[in-house]
């Protein structure tokens, strides 16, 4: 890997189907995400933005191209190595939250840290700290079914941060939320940006794009526009503030 980009993609392509039914979900995309940058990827439904996010996070393999995260080329990694990479370096936030129904909020948050090999005591301490940061310390022992949509997404964000990832990838994080809950999530993303957490958000929501350092528009699997909106919060470095 060259340059200072934390996340780098070159000629990344992802096809579905064959012959006449071939769909180019992502078509030869080049991307550099420096450490500490908040990047918003926007575009209409079906333009390939979620697929790109999955490719960047190693959840799917590209048909062609190269993807680098930090010093690791991930597009050819084995499933086991990809799992290890996600465990230690990537945090995911999903539109549908994907919390474990049977685990409490704090147990959901410490899930990633425990998988990363943290001791139970350290994982719990970190989880409680993060729940406190997202304003849900008093809801730590609640099951997801007892939380509102916004609270669930805040738990999901805390979970994504529990293993101190290099990058957080968020797929339509406000897609299932009402306005009030969306504002809560926006506030958190703003804090993360300020703290220098590298963040890639796929969204339809212009309000999320507004808090990003950079916005990329996608259409038909390719980048249509790439706008640098603000100075990267931490420049080339990382200032994690209260999130660490």
């Amino acid at each position: 890997m060259t340059g200072s980009a934390l996340l780098r993609a070159r000629g990344v392509t992802r096809w579905y189907g064959r012959e006449s039914a071939l769909v180019r979900a992502v078509d030869e995309v080049d991307l550099d995400v420096p450490a500490g940058q908040t990047l918003a990827i926007m575009g209409p439904s079906g333009c390939g933005k979620s697929t790109l996010l999955h490719l960047l996070g190693g959840l799917q393999r590209p048909t062609d191209g190269e993807i680098w995260l930090a010093e690791h080329r991930i597009d050819g990694m084995s499933e086991r190595d990809l799992a290890r990479l996600r465990r230690h370096h990537i945090g995911f936030v999903f539109q549908s939250f994907h919390l474990m129904d049977e685990l409490t909020a704090v147990e959901n948050v410490e899930l990633a840290a425990l998988l990363a090999g943290w001791s139970p005591r350290r994982a719990r301490k970190r989880a409680m700290h993060l729940l406190d940061r997202v304003g849900l310390a008093d809801r730590a022992k609640h099951l997801p079914s007892a939380l509102s949509g916004g609270q669930r997404q805040r738990v999901a964000i805390a979970r994504a941060l529990s293993n101190e990832p290099l990058v957080v990838l968020a797929d339509e994080p406000t897609g299932n939320l009402d306005s009030a809950a969306t504002l809560e999530v926006l506030r958190l993303f703003e804090e993360l940006r300020t703290a220098g957490q590298t963040l890639v958000v796929v969204t339809h929501d212009a309000r999320i794009a507004a808090v990003a350092d950079r916005v990329i528009s996608m259409r038909d699997g390719s980048f249509a526009d790439d706008s640098q909106l603000a100075e990267t919060a931490a420049g080339a470095g990382t200032v994690y503030g209260g999130w660490r």
Partner: protein
């Protein structure tokens, strides 16, 4: 490491608690198989142990000698045997008469043994009820008494002489009813079915009247090989019957029952595997998003497999314990002392071999049934799992053409099966095994359960025990099949709630939806039933001895209809309940 271990345990415990019903169903399914295996192994011991216990308790002889001659000639022939080299103890000679006994209006052949009141060195029959022989009284072997329907205090008639039944007793020196070896002519090697009774030695001549008396001599040898090197032999006009032949004859009483239980345990094992696979497949389908999430946060395939397998292996271990206890507690019902022997299998803890076999079976069922879905879950595509998408059926031109001409219910049924083809295969296995078991039972019921004694017919304890064992297997089989059917329809309805809701928005009526769900279950059930009937008949013919009778065709037809109607009804009920839910509710889902 500690953190991951904590995570595996936490996910396992929480999931078990969250899915209590499914956990109980899994426990029941595996327990049923282990209980039947335990029962089969317990009955295996029953072939030998009760006889051995009876032999020990009654000082049973190694060999019983009986000359072909009668009267003084027989006594003369037996005299040298008592002091023959190698003989360490003897009892007798005791007089034997082959007479007709009349009780409860039926006249049957009976072997009448004359005995003293004083205890003998060998063959001291153990009184199981009432008292030992006394003048005017008769003691009846308990299985024979049960078949005759006589009780202590009743009066029976032996060769025209009324005698009061004073007790019941067991012996290891002669096989139990109906194999007591009655002979129409004294000294004849040809034997007939009969029961054994004891009378006071002083009375036997009077009871026999003009018929000459036979005699038996019980022998014990210093060298055990002297009695185990043969089962039956005839030397110098004397028949020698070893204890092994008597044990074998007694074992025949439960041999068929044991075979029925062993075959039943195989069927139940297959059904349990199908049942567990059915439940696990349903759970894994339900847990696909959970698997996707775990993978997204960095769990590797090994971790995913560990989380799932740990859960099922714990259930397997619990089921092994439950099955062992249930099988062992049920065993005495099939091997009680009513068999004419002392003791039963339930009086001692199960052998280590039985414990190991039941545990291995339970774990094997859990592992075999869960391995495929767990591996599939571990290797599934993360994004696909997170989206929880069903397998899209392959689109072929002729299928599309055909589907356009099908009634709505049939089309819905076929589409549901196409979404989850494995579930359809499990429904077929379920109905195949259940129908096989019940068809074999119907064959058993079609056989004559009575044994001919002279001109009369009495209950055959061997048939009764075999049918009892078969009923036991069938009840467990049907319970398991019912669980399978309920789980299968329940998961099918849950899994198909979205496509069915879409079908309703497109105009499908609740009736069509309900019929569609029933069709989805019936389509794989029909080949299962069609194969199960001949399989059950074949199984019975292979396992049975003699010349079995075929069950009437109407019974088999009723079986086919009953199975199919049950399947249809079981699918229609949850489907009907699902159609009562508003379409909008079904279309909406609340993510967590």
């Amino acid at each position: 490491m500690a953190g991951r271990l904590l995570l595996v345990c936490r996910l396992m415990v929480r999931d078990l608690r969250r899915r209590r019903t499914e956990t109980v169903l899994l426990l029941l399914a595996i327990s049923a198989a282990t209980a039947t295996l335990t029962l089969g192994l317990a009955l295996n011991n029953a072939l030998a142990q009760p006889y051995e216990r009876t032999r020990a308790a009654t000082a049973g002889p190694d060999v019983v000698a009986m000359p072909g001659a009668t009267g003084p000639e027989a006594l003369a022939a037996l005299a040298p045997l008592a002091t023959a080299p190698g003989v360490t103890a003897h009892s007798g000679p005791y007089p034997i008469a082959y007479l007709m006994l009349t009780a409860c209006g039926r006249t049957v052949p009976a072997v009448v043994a004359g005995r003293d009141n004083s205890p003998a060195a060998l063959d001291r029959p153990a009184v199981t009820a009432g008292t030992w022989v006394r003048p005017g009284g008769v003691v009846v072997e308990p299985t024979f008494a049960n078949a005759l329907g006589v009780h202590i205090g009743d009066t029976v008639d032996i060769n025209g002489h009324p005698l009061r039944v004073v007790g019941t007793a067991v012996t290891a020196a002669r096989a139990v009813y109906p194999r007591a070896d009655w002979r129409a002519d004294e000294g004849s090697p040809l034997t007939e079915f009969a029961g054994l009774v004891w009378v006071d030695r002083s009375q036997i001549s009077a009871l026999a009247g003009t018929r000459p008396l036979s005699y038996t001599l019980n022998l014990k040898y210093a060298d055990p090989h002297a009695s185990t090197s043969f089962t039956h032999k005839s030397v110098g006009g004397i028949e020698y019957t070893s204890w092994m032949e008597i044990a074998d004859a007694d074992g025949k009483l439960v041999k068929q029952a044991r075979l029925a239980l062993l075959v039943g345990s195989w069927l139940l094992t297959v059904l349990a595997v199908a049942s567990v696979a059915n439940i696990v497949a349903g759970r894994v389908v339900d847990q696909r998003r959970r698997v996707g999430l775990l993978k997204a946060v960095g769990a590797g395939p090994a971790m995913i497999a560990a989380v799932h397998l740990a859960e099922y292996l714990v259930i397997g271990l619990a089921a092994a314990g439950t099955g062992l206890a249930a099988g062992w507690l049920a065993a005495p019902a099939l091997t009680n002392p009513g068999a004419g022997l002392l003791g039963s299998t339930g009086t001692h803890p199960p052998a280590l071999r039985t414990v190991l076999a039941a545990t291995a079976l339970a774990l094997a069922i859990a592992a075999v049934a869960t391995l495929a879905p767990v591996l599939r879950a571990a290797t599934t595509d993360t994004v696909h799992a997170l989206a929880d998408a069903a397998t899209p059926p392959r689109r072929r031109g002729w299928r599309v053409w055909l589907s356009r001409r099908m009634p709505a219910a049939l089309l819905i049924g076929i589409r549901i099966n196409a979404r989850r083809p494995r579930r359809a295969r499990l429904v077929m296995v379920n109905t195949l095994i259940t129908t096989t078991g019940v068809a074999a039972l119907l064959m058993g019921l079609a056989q004559d359960p009575r044994v001919k004694l002279g001109e009369s017919e009495l209950a055959n304890p061997q048939s009764a025990r075999t049918l009892q064992a078969m009923f036991l297997v069938i009840v467990v089989l049907c319970v398991l099949a019912l669980i399978n059917a309920i789980v299968s329809t329940w998961t099918a309805v849950l899994d198909a709630r979205h496509p069915l809701a879409v079908a309703r928005t497109l105009g499908a009526t609740p009736g069509q939806i309900t019929a569609g769900m029933a069709v989805a279950q019936l389509l794989p059930a029909i080949p299962g039933v069609a194969l199960g009937v001949p399989a059950g008949i074949g199984l019975y013919l292979v396992a049975s001895t003699g010349d079995p009778q075929y069950a009437p065709a109407s019974w088999m037809l009723a079986l086919v209809l009953a199975v199919l109607l049950t399947v249809a009804a079981l699918s229609a009920i949850p489907a009907l309940a699902a159609t009562r839910r508003p379409v909008a509710d079904a279309l909406q889902s609340t993510p967590t």
